[in-house]
Symmetry: C2
C-alpha cells in the first residue's frame, strides 16, 4: 500500500519539477535575454506555472499519500525516509498558509520589486516604505501560520536554512562581531599599500570571457551541461539535470570583477552538477540549504581563487590574455585580489569585511520582524549601525538600506545564510586540506580534481539526505564552528 | 448564454497561449542555448507542456462552449465569428488525435532534432533513419486520425496552409517546373561573369552583427520587442507579445549569408510584431498560414533586399563596416547578391533556383507519406531527383537529404508553403508598388515606412481574420497566381 503511495509521490514530484524547472528557465531568460516589451507577458507565464506547481503539491491526495508512507515507514531505506520526512515538512508548511495570504504575498512582491528598483534609483526610501510595511506584515502573518519556538524570525529562517534558530544565529554573530571588526581594521591597514587602481587598464570583454571559462573548466565545471552568460545581477541557476547556467557581469576596466563572479557562481554550479541525478525532483536529490550552497561558492571563490597558489599558476595565462597586465607579476595579482577596505555595498565587499554587512542586516531584519524597529526608522537605524560597524557615514539610502533586492522580494531570514556559508567554506576547506595530503602541490599546478572529488563525495552526492547541520558534522567530524573562518581571515589578512 | 461561453473560450485560450508560448521558449532555447546534456530533460518538459495545452483545448467543456457559441452566432461581430469558426476547425482536428499520439510526437521530435543535427554533422543518414521511420509513421497515423479527401498528405498540409490540397499543389508545381528550369538555366548563364569568390575576404562576426541589426532596424524591426541570436538553422519565433526572436548563422568569409538570413527572418518578425495584440491567444490574433508568413520574409529578403536600390543605399555603410569591400562599388554587390547557380543547399539557394528545391522536397515527402518511397531509399531517391532537376551529383547526405531540419521536427507538408510564399511575395510587392506612387524613391533612400504600413494594413493587422486565399484576394484583388513570381524572376534574371 505505502509502496504505491510512495510511487505516486515520486511521480507527482517529477511532474512538479518539470514545471519548476521550466519556471526557472523563464526566470533565467528574463535576466539574460528577454526584450523589454516582453516583461509583462513573462509575469503571466511565471504566475501560471508557479500556481500550477503549488496546486499540484498542495492537493489533498498528496497529504493522503504522505500519511500512507509514514504508516508504512520502517526506516530501512534512507532515501525513502528522507523524502517522506521532507515531503511532510514541506506539505505541512505549504498547506498552513491560507491561499489568500499566498496570493497577497505574490501580488505585493510583484509590485514591491519594481517600486524598490525605482526607489533605489531615485534614492527615495519613502516611496518604498509602504511596500516594506506590507511585506513585514505579511511575513509576520506567515510566521504565525507556520508557528515557531521562540520568535517569529525563527519560522522565516526555516525557508532558507532548516534547523537555524534566531538565538543561535544571534549568539554566533555576537561572538563574531568584535573579531570581525578587529580583522577588518587590520586588513584595511595592511592594504593601504595596494592602490585601488593598481591594475587599471583595458580588459576586452571577449578576453575576459575566454579566461573565465578556462578557469571554470579547470575547476571542473562541465560545459556540456552548463554555460556562462551575462546578467546585471550574477547568479547560478541549476535549471534541470544537465543544464546549470552561471551569469556574470563585465567591467572592461577591471577583469577581476567578472572573474571572481564566475569563480563564485562556478562553486554553486559544481554543487548543482554534482547532485545525485537519480533522485532529481525529490528532496533527496536537491541541494540541502542556502548556507551549504554558499559554502561551495565561497570555497572556490575565496579559499581556492584568492590563495597565492591560484595566481602563481594562472598568472602566465592572464598575462597572455590581457595586454594591460604587461610588466606585472603574480604577486601583484595576489595583493590586488586580497585587498581589503570597508565599503558601502555588500555585493562588492571583500571577504575580510563581508560578514559585518551580514551581521548588520540580520540585526535589522530581526528587529523589523519583532517590532523593535519600525519601518519608518529603518534608514536612521541602518546608518547609525553602519557608522558604528565600519566607521563610514552612509551618504544616501541608495547606498544604504535600499541597496539589496531581498526585502523587496519578501525574503526575510535569508541574509544569515551568507555568513553560515562563509563559515562552512572555511571548515570544509580546512578538513579537505587535512584529509588530502599533497593537495597544496596539486592546487599549485591548477589540478583541482581531488579537491572536487572530496566535495562531490562529502557534500554534493549526499544531496538532501542529511539536514545541513548533520551534513557538516558528517563531512568534517564536528559542528559548524566560526573558528575556521576566523583563523582563515587572520592568517590571510593579519 | 453564448456570451459567457465565448468568454470562457477566450479565457481558456489565453491559458493555453501561456503554455504554448512557454513551450516556444523551450524550443528557442534548445536551438540557441541548451547544453548537450540538458537535451533529454528538455524533451520531458516539452512533452508535459504540449500535453497540458492539448488537454486544456480538447476538454469536453470546450466542445460544449463552441457549440453554444455556434448556436448564438449572428455573424455580426467579425472577430467573434472568425474565432468560433477556427476554434471549431481546430477542436475537431485536435480531438481526433489521441493524447498518447500527441505526447509521443512531442517526445520523438525532441530526440529526433538533436539526432538529426549529429547525423548531418557526421554525414550518417543511418543514425537518423530510425527517427525518421518513427516520424513518418506518426505522421501517417495523424493523417488517418484527421481524415482526408484524396490522400493522407492532404491532411498533413492543412496544418501549415489551410485550404491547400495535394492535387492543387502538384498541378501548380507541374506548371512551374519547366519554366523554373528554363529560368534557372538562363540565370546561371547570365551569372557566369560573376565569380563566386568575387567578394571573398574576411568579414568579422561582430561587424556583420552590427550591419545586420542596422538594416533590420531600418526595415522596422523593433528591438525593444525582439532580438537576433545565432543558431545552426535560422528561424524566427514569435514567442509572445513583445518578444519576437530571429536567428541567423555567420560565415566570416561571406557576410551576405548572415545578412540575407536576417533580412528573411526580419520579414517574418515584422509580421509577428504587426499582429493585433488585442486578439493575442485567439485565432483572430494569430498569423494566418505559413505561406502568408513566407510571403513576408521573401518580400523583404528578395523584393526589397536584392533590388538595385537596396545596395545603392546601403553600400556606403557596408563599405565602412567591412574592410574587405574596399575598392568595390554598389554594382558589385548588386551583381553578387543576384548571382544564380544551381547549388546543393536549399537555404543557400538563390531565388532563381529556390523553388525547384521545393518541388523536389514536395515530391519526395508526398511519396514517403504515401508509401511509394521507403525511408531506407530516401538518399538514393533524393540524389537521383537532384541530378535530374539541377544537373548536379549530390556528394553526401549532409548536403543532400539530411540538410533540412523540417522532417526531424516532424513537419511533413510544410515545404510547399515556401513556394506559395514566393508567389505571394511577388504578387503583394507588385500590388504595393502599384498602389504606392513614389515608393521607388523612398526605397532608394532606405525609407521603408510606407511599404511596411501597407503590409501592416493589408496583411499583418488582419491577423487570422481571413483564410489565406481570401486574405490574398482582399489585399491584391485577385487569386494567388504564379504569374507575378515568374514575371519577377524573368525580369531580374533573363
Amino acid at each position: 500500500m505505502s509502496d504505491s503511495a510512495y510511487n505516486h509521490l515520486v511521480q507527482r514530484c517529477s511532474e512538479i519539477a518539470l514545471y519548476t524547472s521550466t519556471s526557472a528557465l523563464l526566470g533565467w531568460d528574463q535576466e539574460t535575454c528577454l526584450p523589454r516589451k516582453g516583461i509583462a507577458y513573462r509575469a503571466e507565464q511565471c504566475a501560471l506555472l508557479g500556481g500550477r506547481a503549488h496546486r499540484l503539491f498542495c492537493a489533498p491526495e498528496v497529504g493522503k499519500w504522505i500519511s500512507e508512507c509514514e504508516e508504512g515507514e520502517t526506516g530501512g531505506d534512507c532515501v525513502r525516509s528522507v523524502n517522506v520526512r521532507d515531503w511532510r515538512w514541506s506539505y505541512d508548511r505549504a498547506t498552513k498558509l491560507p491561499e489568500d495570504l499566498v496570493e497577497k504575498s505574490e501580488r505585493v512582491r510583484a509590485h514591491a520589486m519594481p517600486a524598490w528598483a525605482r526607489a533605489r534609483e531615485e534614492n527615495k526610501f519613502t516611496d518604498f516604505k509602504p511596500h516594506l510595511d506590507t511585506i513585514i506584515d505579511i511575513n509576520r502573518q506567515k510566521a504565525e501560520c507556520y508557528g515557531y519556538q521562540e520568535t517569529p524570525y525563527d519560522a522565516l529562517m526555516e525557508d532558507y536554512e532548516r534547523g537555524a534558530s534566531t538565538a543561535a544565529v544571534a549568539e554566533l554573530f555576537e561572538e563574531l562581531k568584535p573579531q570581525l571588526r578587529d580583522i577588518g581594521s587590520a586588513a584595511a591597514r595592511r592594504s593601504e599599500s595596494v592602490p585601488a587602481d593598481m591594475l587599471s587598464g583595458h580588459y576586452p570583454l571577449s578576453a575576459q570571457r575566454d579566461f573565465n571559462e578556462k578557469v571554470a573548466r579547470a575547476f571542473g565545471f562541465d560545459f556540456d551541461a552548463g554555460r556562462i552568460d551575462t546578467a546585471v545581477h550574477p547568479f547560478c541557476s541549476g535549471l534541470a539535470p544537465g543544464d546549470t547556467r552561471l551569469t556574470t557581469r563585465y567591467d572592461e576596466e577591471d577583469f577581476s570583477s567578472s572573474l571572481y563572479g564566475v569563480l563564485h557562481e562556478t562553486g554553486h554550479g559544481l554543487y548543482e552538477q554534482g547532485l545525485p541525478p537519480e533522485h532529481h525532483g525529490t528532496p533527496a536529490g536537491g541541494s540541502v540549504s542556502l548556507g551549504i550552497h554558499e559554502s561551495q561558492s565561497r570555497l572556490w571563490e575565496n579559499h581556492v581563487g584568492r590563495q597565492p597558489a591560484f595566481w602563481e599558476h594562472w598568472f602566465p595565462l592572464a598575462a597572455e590574455s590581457f595586454k594591460a597586465l604587461h610588466g606585472r607579476e603574480a604577486g601583484d595579482l595576489i595583493a590586488f585580489t586580497t585587498r581589503s577596505q570597508p565599503s558601502l555595498i555588500r555585493v562588492e565587499a571583500d571577504e575580510a569585511t563581508y560578514d559585518l554587512h551580514i551581521v548588520l542586516r540580520f540585526e535589522i531584519e530581526r528587529d523589523l520582524i519583532s517590532g523593535n524597529l519600525a519601518v519608518a526608522d529603518l534608514p536612521e537605524a541602518w546608518n547609525a549601525k553602519f557608522e558604528d560597524f565600519f566607521g563610514i557615514r552612509v551618504p544616501n539610502d541608495t547606498e544604504g538600506c535600499l541597496q539589496d533586492i531581498h526585502w523587496s522580494m519578501g525574503a526575510l531570514g535569508y541574509f544569515p545564510t551568507y555568513t553560515i556559508g562563509n563559515l562552512g567554506a572555511a571548515q570544509l576547506f580546512a578538513k579537505a586540506h587535512e584529509q588530502l595530503p599533497g593537495i597544496d602541490g596539486e592546487l599549485a599546478v591548477g589540478n583541482y580534481t581531488r579537491l572536487l572529488e572530496w566535495l562531490r563525495r562529502n557534500i554534493h552526492a549526499p544531496g538532501g539526505k542529511l539536514l545541513p547541520a548533520d551534513l557538516m558534522r558528517a563531512a568534517t567530524g564536528e559542528d559548524l564552528s566560526p573558528s575556521y573562518h576566523l583563523e582563515h581571515l587572520r592568517s590571510r589578512y593579519l
